[in-house]
Amino acid sequence: MAMGKPNLDIFAETLLSLARSDRDVLVVTSDSRGSGRLSGYAQELPEQIIETGIAEQNVIGISAGLASAGKKVFAVSPACFITARALEQIKNDVCYSDHPVRVVGISAGVSYGALGATHHSLHDIAALRAIHNIMIVVPADSLETREAILAAYAAPYPLYIRLGKAPMPDVYPASEPFRLGTCARIRDGHDVTYVACGETVPVALGAAEALAAQGVSCRVLSMHTVKPLDEQALVSAARETGAVISVEEHSAHGGLGEACATVLLRHGLHVPFDLVAIPDEHLVSGSQNEVFRHYGLSVESLAATAMRLIGGR
């Protein structure tokens, strides 16, 4: 798979083009314009970026006030900080008060690699899934990122958009329309389904391609909207392929995998299932890629997981 741009870069480009033609578009950020690839935006549109300094609670509170007055606000800050230190502001000032702020968590998951747990966000999906009135979007590639930002711009409700910073290959089929709340079937198959989101999607796709060589046919769903979950696509996948593996760059607790498991059980679909995520432990140190490999978020390991699940067939 040829590498494209990081999703973070696509986010910044898309936002800049929106902001050029709509003065109500605002970025609020916590000394993170560089990390958010927004230095160019800030130079071109200095009136449309509000800096709070290193103060994430302030980012969200101020964003809520701006949104209440009709501004189209993108609150941009590292995912690890904005969804933990400012969680109460997201819960109360954005979600509960229903001010449509787009919270953009940058360098999410283990993007910061060896910088340690302070900089990892492996809790964010779980925390926000339990808060009413916020959509959770985890784009995989350039197309999903661009479309998610465009949709978020038009959406009159709160969203959390979770972005990584590694270069991503294009995985989204150009023929398939993008809609928030509806997952993308990026590869069809009938033996097993990978349900992945964000930067793990290419890994799942790689496993599907590797298994094809062994005669195993895998479906791959890019579940870019983790909340609300596209239950119908998941249920169909379980019925049609008979086995499901969830794949995510998040704690095994409370993320995509548990969301999928709940849906399957509630529909009485007791299919072979495994949940591949970051386990509940003190993380091994290393780059994002090394951490992925360590915890089975690799092509080889995902392929082996699939073979184990469907071994009897």
Binding site: E47, N58, G61, A67
Partner: protein
Amino acid sequence: METSERTLRLKSVSYREAILRIISQAGAGHTGGDLSAIDILNVLYNRILNVSPQTASDPDRDRFVQSKGHCVEALYAVLADRGFFPSAELDTVCRYGSRLIGHPTRAVPGIEHNTGALGHGLAVAVGMALAGRLDGRSYRVFTLLGDGELDEGSNWEASMAAAHYGLDNLIVIVDRNGLQITGPTEQVNALEPLADKFRSFGYALRQVDGHDIPALVEALASAPFERGKPSLLLAHTVKGKGISFAENQAGWHHRVPSAAELERAWAELAAQRAALEGS
């Protein structure tokens, strides 16, 4: 006493009666803080804010964010009196299914932001003020903070931003009643020298007796206190003000009056009304 002052002071008596009625029927409420804040709310809604039920969604309306959300009974009493919702609805506060819950929410006409957790209102008010500046609108943003909630660091983050952006369309009012739930603020987590702290954070500051109606009107009408700076009105108040046995008692933070206490309160408020009518 001028007619307009007498009118407002009579309103304060009525509001205090309404607060006690709400709290006794709901069986819950924040009596002490309601009574310390009510004269400020009275002046805001009857003399200062250019907002009414008819202009509640006008983009040019003044905004008010009550950061000390627990004193919602005071806000409900004033909003009902101003016609944002029927006064009869005050009987439903905290009842099953009522939109009038124990903290402010946007489900209630006239309320701009949901509060309840402390230390949230100021940052939101900063955002509203920034939006007004960006849009070239002339509205002002008022927010009312308790003194206890100043323990929350988020207030100081927001204060830095207010000064950094020179938001002279922002007026922060602090209900300085000196008490929080556990006891005196100076014993719980000392705030003093509070005025110096606010000045050093970049506010233009004025101090006022938060129960002196003409002084409140004069101070709030004079905002911004200084061009290019956010205004801070440090309103020195008495927790439980107007009900002698509740005044300055930390225990009245969220105490519900007994039947006997209510009788005494009605008598005291009736005497205050009679004195005003005779003046």
